[in-house]
Subunit: 467 residues, 2 copies
Amino acid sequence: MNGKIVRALATIALGAIIWFIPVPQGVTPQAWHLMAIFVATIFGFILQPMPIGAVALTSITFTALAGVLKPAEALSGFSNTTIWLIVSAFLFAKGFIKTGLGRRIAYVLIRAIGDSTLKLGYTLVLSDLIISPATPSNTARAGGIIFPIVRSLCTAFDSEPGVSARKVGSYLMQTAYQGNTITSAMFLTSMAGNPLIALLAAQALHIQITWGQWALAAAVPGLISILVVPYFLYKFYPPEITKTPEAKALATSELKKMGAMSRGEKIVSMVFVGALVLWSTSQYSKLDATVVAMLAVVVMLATEVLEWKDVLEEKGAWDTLIWMGSLVGLADFLSKLGFIPWFAKAVAAGIAGIPWVPAFVILTVVYLYAHYAFASLTAHITAMYSAFVAVAVAAGAPPYLAALALGFMSNLCMSLTHYAAGPSPIYFGAGYVDQNTWWRLGFIVSVINLVIWVGFGSIWWKVLGLW
Amino acid sequence: MNGKIVRALATIALGAIIWFIPVPQGVTPQAWHLMAIFVATIFGFILQPMPIGAVALTSITFTALAGVLKPAEALSGFSNTTIWLIVSAFLFAKGFIKTGLGRRIAYVLIRAIGDSTLKLGYTLVLSDLIISPATPSNTARAGGIIFPIVRSLCTAFDSEPGVSARKVGSYLMQTAYQGNTITSAMFLTSMAGNPLIALLAAQALHIQITWGQWALAAAVPGLISILVVPYFLYKFYPPEITKTPEAKALATSELKKMGAMSRGEKIVSMVFVGALVLWSTSQYSKLDATVVAMLAVVVMLATEVLEWKDVLEEKGAWDTLIWMGSLVGLADFLSKLGFIPWFAKAVAAGIAGIPWVPAFVILTVVYLYAHYAFASLTAHITAMYSAFVAVAVAAGAPPYLAALALGFMSNLCMSLTHYAAGPSPIYFGAGYVDQNTWWRLGFIVSVINLVIWVGFGSIWWKVLGLW
């Protein structure tokens, strides 16, 4: 409790200090005060004197109380279409988990190709990849669908936390986790914060990143990462058991237990394929991604694959609605009131004279490793993406290059820590990988991804004509 | 399942028929199509092929899919300040229930004056009245705070559903319920739909109903109803036991068990008084009611009276957010696109020539008894309030008279059925009052309230200079 009070006071103090700093020229007091609240909010997300939802609610309440924004403006994030894409995504993922379709997909893959630990690792990542375009909650995907399978595989090989952890468990846990990091970066709809990236890029740079563009730009570096990272872990952090015929047997027996596909699984499959088709063609059909996700939820409700109580009990959706809805509302007005452009201009003036290539590399590296200070990908995006992308472009970097590179880094930074994002505490909490090992592996993987995505990626985007 | 499909088809058919009716002159096709969706939504709320939240979600998804509204417009209700007053109210009420403060208030009252069944009835209503200004969820108040006390009182008197129901149970259940009907009407913040009434009145008539005005206008008819209704039930539906010294003993022992006020209770008391003060002075301080409610929630979170998981588990809040948020968004655009003014004008033309007094009485009576077709006060308000108030004023009724009378009827209609609003199924489900009796008592009480509120009330409002 005392610790909480100290952290609360530190958060408030930081906000107060910024609030009372003389307002720099070129910024309105209103924008400056909003920025003070915003910075204190992000600081509060990191220190967590209260859960982040409560911090966010406090922030918008104070924003309205202090008259920095009108009540309706402070609440405006709650009707943001991006927010409702995320809420719908949580509900969509619930259909995958509830019907068991996600488990079935993974087991089918394991039965087909899972006779060695390395192949098993690839199979887990591949399963994640297949469902990733339709499960924007990477936490639901990694934690709700893949994790239970990894955990039961470990048990099948007598690999438990402790002395037997390294048999297969440590390798599989870390591979599934790092794989999720990569798949999160690969689609506009494979991580909740990605549509936000597209939105912020549109706000800051006036460029449109469509679902198809994102997928195409991520395809080459993504597939290289998926090939390289599990193999790197296999060599650098090897499992003690390498041949795993048991996995096929387990998968076969589990699939037998599951029997034929249930009505619910069939419906979710169809909804899944339908949503994929609509999402991937949205640049032609002009159908909004949020409406597609809502339609998917409505179909699952109408067919009773999802019950209404499943919706109401999906706490992740309501938690995210509140903290992210609050933050998006604040961030939106931070931009509207002119703070972000002013900040980017000021920083750009600071790196004036440096050629754009080193400036861009510095910005990308700083952006990536800043995630040591975040416990949420989306908080990182909301706090830093707009400003960094604006500065990069102001320094001379091509807009699509800057938007995509920083967008992908927004996901790949998840490799770093055991609290980096929703899936992290789940895989860390299983007890197969200690904190030091996690941070060491995470740092090396982040360097590998940086080289693949910015190095090879920028060539690929040049080929695509994006810059 | 078959019944559900029939009800779903009926709902869709009604919407389709209206959609394809040739659009009358003076209405845009867009407004007409939105109206078709809106009517089908309300019809869906009544038939319930799915829970109302799922019906509402389907409606806004279809609205966006069909291009009647843009996605952001269809979602706009979710950032409505009224909606977040309701969400905050659910959380505020949780503080009352969780800390036991509501129970304590009731027991203190019972110990002081509860030595006869009649007095007990009055005491329950009085307890409800005292907490009503700060618990806009009348369901939380009636169901979460008062109901457990009524139920334990019944048990204390060996009055169980069945042969012993009439001992004290039937009377107390019905009195507490009908009392809640009255208290719901008495404050802008004593029923979730009341701020919506003020909002709709502002939209339709451009008049402001403040918290203080509402309370003042409701005070005289409300107190008369509170005096009359429990006494009427006592005479017309008498309990078999009339002297209840046991109640005092029960209250004394329960209060002893509860011990001194806990830290949580003290905090909720202070927050409660603070919110009351801020709400009742908001016309001077210009503090928004929603911001006050959010501040109350934030204080309860910061002091850990409420935990964040309490917030996420408050399903009533999320359910209401979705169905009411959807509906408010649609209703808002129904008005913005010009349908409501057109409809009111058309109906007004139909009753042209009738003097305003009989026209107003007819409208009020029709509005009140239309609630037989509703399972939610707010749905009733959203569907009918704007149009009826506009028609009444078009017919010549003074704006404040029309706005207040129909506003109060929006609450008093709760007396009618066992499915009228959230508290109804709770009290009905206890098994002390059968359906026929409920409807008979409910109808008579509605007539009594109609006479008191429109009869005496209109004189009082004249005295206040509201018309």
